[in-house]
Subunit: 249 residues, 2 copies
Amino acid sequence: MAEEATGPVMVLVRPQMGENIGAAARAMWNFGLDRLRIVAPRDGWPNPKAIAMASGALAVLDHARILPSVAVALADLTHVFAATARPRELVKPVFTPEAAMARARELIAAGEQVGMLFGPERAGLENEDLVAVNAFISVPVNPDFPSLNLAQCVLLTAYEWRRATEKAPGERLDLGRTRMAEQGEVERFVAELFARLDQAGFFFPAHKRASMEANLRNLFARAPLTDTDIRTLYGVVRALWEKGRPGHG
Amino acid sequence: MAEEATGPVMVLVRPQMGENIGAAARAMWNFGLDRLRIVAPRDGWPNPKAIAMASGALAVLDHARILPSVAVALADLTHVFAATARPRELVKPVFTPEAAMARARELIAAGEQVGMLFGPERAGLENEDLVAVNAFISVPVNPDFPSLNLAQCVLLTAYEWRRATEKAPGERLDLGRTRMAEQGEVERFVAELFARLDQAGFFFPAHKRASMEANLRNLFARAPLTDTDIRTLYGVVRALWEKGRPGHG
């Protein structure tokens, strides 16, 4: 916890509602961030509504630093991004949340102290808050409805931090207690199936046999089968074969 | 708006709190999604708390379809992802939100009808809701604090939809009313500066001139300068040159 951790410092500037401070703390901790600084919270500190909302992320609030000004909050940071909906006339690089967090990861790996600045509800950050920051973060929202609230903005940024630092595979199979079937297991099942079908006169006419077999093999190859699937399929074949009622079907 | 649009259909299953339904509608519309279906909302429909929370995204609620069961809600969809914290023993592909939305974009481009299923608060989706879905979505949360609420889960998914469909450049310079300076403009400024410095006897001793010039050129080349910056720099040089007080230090 607290300031010795490795993620960026999240800095809330003049936040108004305690609920939003608590929700921002939750959003941070959802994605493993725990370094929070709060500049001049409107309703003072501690804030009971922030505590009530933070629930499981209370430790983030407990370790938060309360500071009187943006300048003091940023004093020990070497690289600061500011989340702002419409970057002002200040010319600075504008990053997507993804690109900002990829950059933050590089900077932190190189030993820099990185911060993310978030403005107050409604008013947003003022030009004087923004002059000293290194870059802006702009979330690619629907231009017809760009109103993200403070906690949502922190959530998306924290989410991108986790994505930048923990590259999960985009797609995986969740196997639970089962495992993927080996090719040989699938092959043995298919052989048994074909033997039964052969006995049943399924492969008719004979010159179509090859293509009928290919289609069936392909069907079982298309879906990745687990060992449970294979057992189930044996059961299906056996049930049909043994319990069928020839002449009634 | 509504069902003829191109994004995936977001399906809320047995949502409990009206506020969460409204917040989910907002989160959808923040990222340009507007096709909402609600299965068996606990408190009936319409829900005044959902309406109050939706505010600017009210049209999403107005066009929402209220349906009695998951089966009916999914009947016309060809590919369904379910957001679920811990995928059950059902073996299906598990996607990150990013990979799921990249896949959804491909499927929709190929003419498929894609849906995203979100479970009720606390309880989550039940196995019988999940049997028929094609894949799971799992958000890479902090395992120590995985508690995303319904609207946050919809927000992250909708955000990834927009990222998948509108590739914004990761980093750009926001120039506002200004523009980047051309090399020639920088060069002319540097020449004027050097002329003044030369007059001032700055380049001393003479054999260091080349390296002193190189250092200065490099300094102005390092930061990308705008035409406003250049005008400002001319002003600085002129002010120092004309208003300086030789002999006073």
